[in-house]
Structure formats: C-alpha cells, structure tokens
C-alpha cells in the first residue's frame, strides 16, 4: 500500500527521537571540551625533543645531525649546529642544536623525523590542542618549547618507550664495559 513505508519511517524516527531522551547511551556524541576520550597509545600529532635528567640544555639527546631536517617532507624543521661539544649519555663528545625550530603550521605529522633519528631524540607527542591566537610566533616552536622530559615519553607511549629505554641501557652498559676493558688492554 502506498504510504505504508512513510508511516513506518515516521515511527522509526519518532522512536529514535524519544529514545534519545530516555536511553542516554543512544547519544554517542562526546561533549568534547568537558568530556574526552582516552588517547590511543599510538596516537601522534607533533614531534617533541626528549631530554634526560632535569636540565633541558644538558640532557637534550639531539646531536644536531640534521638528518630529520633533511628528511622532513614539508621542510618544517630548522636546525643550527652548535660550535662547541658536550658529552652525551655514554660520555661521547657530541654537537648539540643551538637552534631547533619546528613550524606547527607546516608539520604534517608523518613521523618520518622519528623514524630516521639514530639517537632516539625526537618522538611524536599526542597533544592535539595546538591552536594559538598568534599565527607567527605562536606557531613556530623553538627548542625550549619542544623539549620534554623522558618521563613524558614514558607516560604517553609506554610500550615503545620501555623498549627504547632497554636498548639505551644496553648501549650504555656496552660502552661502559668497553671503557672498562680498554684501559685494561692498554695496561697489558
């Protein structure tokens, strides 16, 4: 019969309309600023620089090798190498970045900088509320703003971070063992 389907459809929409007032779990919308879903561990938004210890300048893992700068597809990373050197976590003398800027508005969250970094110095943050009212200075993040403690990394990407930690501990142990054995060899 003509019109039967329309009546059925109207009943269905009415059921949904009334149901949304009675059953709260029908409403799947997350009221964003007040409510938020837990962030997925693999979520990535924008890179940050990891530093060990408490001092930002001292513990920064980055050695200003500029691989990420070269690999970055949209060319949003700008690095200037330092003139002097400082020891890294295994005591080796390394350069450090005098300037390290990333342009938020250009970055495309591809994570290539993370993939290529041989020093585990750059990782992706899951912070996504990056809006600002200053579209020039506010969107060009300097080294000071990019640097985050290693604890932050452990907090947001625990699985990946513990792996990295283990590897770094092993490297450090190897380096120390080498250092310990070298003087012995010389003595021989």
């Amino acid at each position: 019969m003509l019109g039967e389907g329309i009546v059925k459809g109207l009943a269905e929409t009415a059921r949904n309309f009334l149901g949304s007032f009675i059953e709260k779990d029908r409403l799947v919308t997350v009221q964003y600023p007040e409510e938020r879903l837990p962030v997925v561990e693999a979520a990535r938004m924008f890179p940050f620089l990891i530093y060990d210890g408490v001092d930002q300048e001292e513990g920064l893992r980055c050695v200003a090798c500029q691989i990420c700068e070269k690999e970055c597809p949209p060319q949003c990373i700008h690095i200037e190498k330092s003139k002097d050197k400082k020891p890294d976590f295994i005591g080796k003398q390394q350069f450090y970045p005098a300037v390290f800027d990333i342009d938020v508005s250009v970055c495309m969250s591809c994570q290539i900088c993370v993939e290529v970094c041989p020093f585990d110095a750059i990782r992706m943050d899951n912070e996504f509320e990056l809006s600002t009212d200053d579209r020039f200075a506010g969107l060009l993040w300097p080294k000071e703003k990019l640097a985050m403690p290693n604890e932050h990394y452990l907090a947001i990407h625990p699985t990946e971070a513990t792996e990295v930690e283990a590897r770094r501990a092993e490297e450090k142990a190897q380096a120390e063992a080498k250092k310990a054995s070298q003087p012995a060899a010389v003595a021989k």
Binding site: L2, I6, T13, N16, R26, T29
Partner: protein, 390 residues
Amino acid sequence: MQPSDQVFVLLKHWLVGRSPAVMQPGVSILLTIVPILLIFPVLFAVTTVLERKGLGRIQNRYGPNRVGPYGILQPLADGLKSLTKEDIVPSSADRTVHFLAPLVLLAVAFLPYAVLPMGRNMVAVNLDSGVLFFFAIGAISELSVFMAGWSSRNKYSLLGAMRAVAQMISYEVPLLLSSIAVIMAAGSLSTVEIVEKQSGFSGIFPHWYVLTPWGFAGFILFMIAATAETNRSPFDLPEGESEIIAGYYIEYSGFKFALFFLGEYLGMFAISGLGITLFLGGWSAPLPFLTWVPSWIWFFGKLLGLIIGFIWVRGTLPRLRMDQLMNFAWKFMLPMALVVVVSAGAWRFLPQGVTRWLVSMVFIAAAYVLLARGVETRNKIAKRTYRFAE
C-alpha cells in the same frame, strides 16, 4: 468573549484611540504590520533551533547546545555570523537582479500574512478573495527564485532554479485544487469566513473540514503540495546539497543568504497558516470546553504543530528523484485532488447523515487504491536516451 482573547485587538484600538486623529490611519496600519514583521522572524529563529535540535535527536545527536542554556541562543549567533560575513557577488553575475532576488523573495514571503486570520478579529486585511490573494502572491515567489538562479551565472544555480520553477508549477495545481474543495464547501474565498464556517461544534466534534473524508484527503494532499512548494525535504531537489550544492542560492553569502533562508521559512509558515485556515479550523478550539483558551493561542499552537510535522518529515524521508517527483505530481496528486473536489461536491449536495459519509469515503478510498497501484507498478527503469548530448 473573554478579554484575554481580544487582548491584542483591544490594545491596538486603545493605542489608535490615543494617537492624534490625523495620524490614526497611519498608526492603525503600522500596528497591524509591525507585529507581523516581528512575530514571524522570531518564529523563524525559534524554528531553526527546534529543527536543528529535533533533527539531532532523530539522528541520536544532541544538536546545538553551546550558545546559551540548551543552545537556545543559537539563532543569535547565526544571525551575527551572517551579518559579519563578506557579501560576495560573482564577477560575471547580473548585479541588479542578483541584488533584487532576495528582496523580492522576502517581500513576497511577507505579503500572504495579510490575509491569515491569526485569531478572532485578528486579520490584517479581510479580503473578499483572501485565498486567491494568497496564491497570486505565492506565484510571484517562483519568479524571484528564477531571478536568483539566473543572475548568479552558475550552472548549479540555474539548474536549481529550473528545478524549483518546474516543481513549484507542478505542485501548485494539486495545492489549488485541494483548496478549491474547501472553498466549495465554505462557499467563500475569504479566509475569515472560511474559519468562521468551521468554528461550530456538533457534539464534541468541531466542524473542521479535516474531519470529513474529503477534507482529510484534501489536507494530506495540501500538506504534501505545501512541502513541495516550500522546497522542503523530501522535495528539496532545487537545493539538493549533495547534487547541486545549494541550488539557486549557491552564489549568495552573508546576509543575502540569511534573507533567502528567512524567506523560505516564512513561506513555510504562511502555507502552514493557510492549511490551518482551510482545514484545521483556523483559530477555533478543537473541543467545545476549551473555547476559553484565547483564539490566537490555538492558531499559533496549530502552526507549531505543523512546523514540528515538517521537521519530522524532513528527518525521515530521503530526497526524491526528479522523475519520481513529476510522476507523483501529475499521476497521483492531480487525479487525487480532482477526486477530492468531486467528493466535496457530493458531500455538499447529499443530505446530512451516514450516506454522504459513505459516498465520500468510497470515492476517496477507491481513487487512492487505484492510483496508488498505478504509482507503485510504474517504476520500471527504462533505458535512458539522451536527446541533446550527441
């Protein structure tokens, strides 16, 4: 007659009486027009929130709930936004016509309210031919839609305008024919008289035309045609966001777009008002013991009811295809409306009692069954032939 029923009429008389004699005609006209110009845009604002929240709930969403408590100030934000937006006119557009189109549409959208009785003694102009006036003015709105579509110099907007005009012309026929049934029964073209004819009661049932078999069918046909006339879903082909982006107002931005929107909703309210006047007894109460409620409350209550109906239908039905639209208009609506006219004639001349109920019902039911079968079986999809595309 309670004073609460006539409160606005008495207020107007009092204000007119207080003004100096020279200005009295002017004041009287002003006091008639200004409320209409204020109330219906406010109703438009309320309706946009209702519609967005209602559609949201139908789709299991919240709808707008940020501006003000429960989002009721949303239209204010929308209005401010459209006011501050840049007004863009395409460089190849016909500037004059492009500018005039929304103004014509809005003027035409406001005019029909002149003949709608919104309460007892509450009508701007009691024209002898009120219903005819309504349709005559409505006919002009087609021209404004065409102006908007043509002057934008955009293929989509032209397509939208063509669709709109074709649709409005097609659905005007059943709209007029279903109103003719009421005009025949009431014996008058005056909206005031039509409402007065329906304001009596027999037992507890009001004399509304919708409570007769032909009136019920006529009302359904009228509302379907009204939905098509006002380009609302499921007849929103002229706008068809997913097909032709926004149809004839694709090239309008800022406040001109808001004016179009306002015009469209005003048209919807006006045609709902006419439907109420013709079929739902205008301002008369539905039950005899409810006559103490002021008449204007009944009118606006019924109007709100029909608006909610429009929103409900919009949330339910998908958009029609062009050929379905035309088939439905000419192969179902038109013959059905003619049967309604005949049935109303039979009702008028048969003696009161069970016979005329039966005759009228049989007429309508038989026509419905036969025509519905025609509409349902004729949906074979033929191979498409292109005439101009070679």
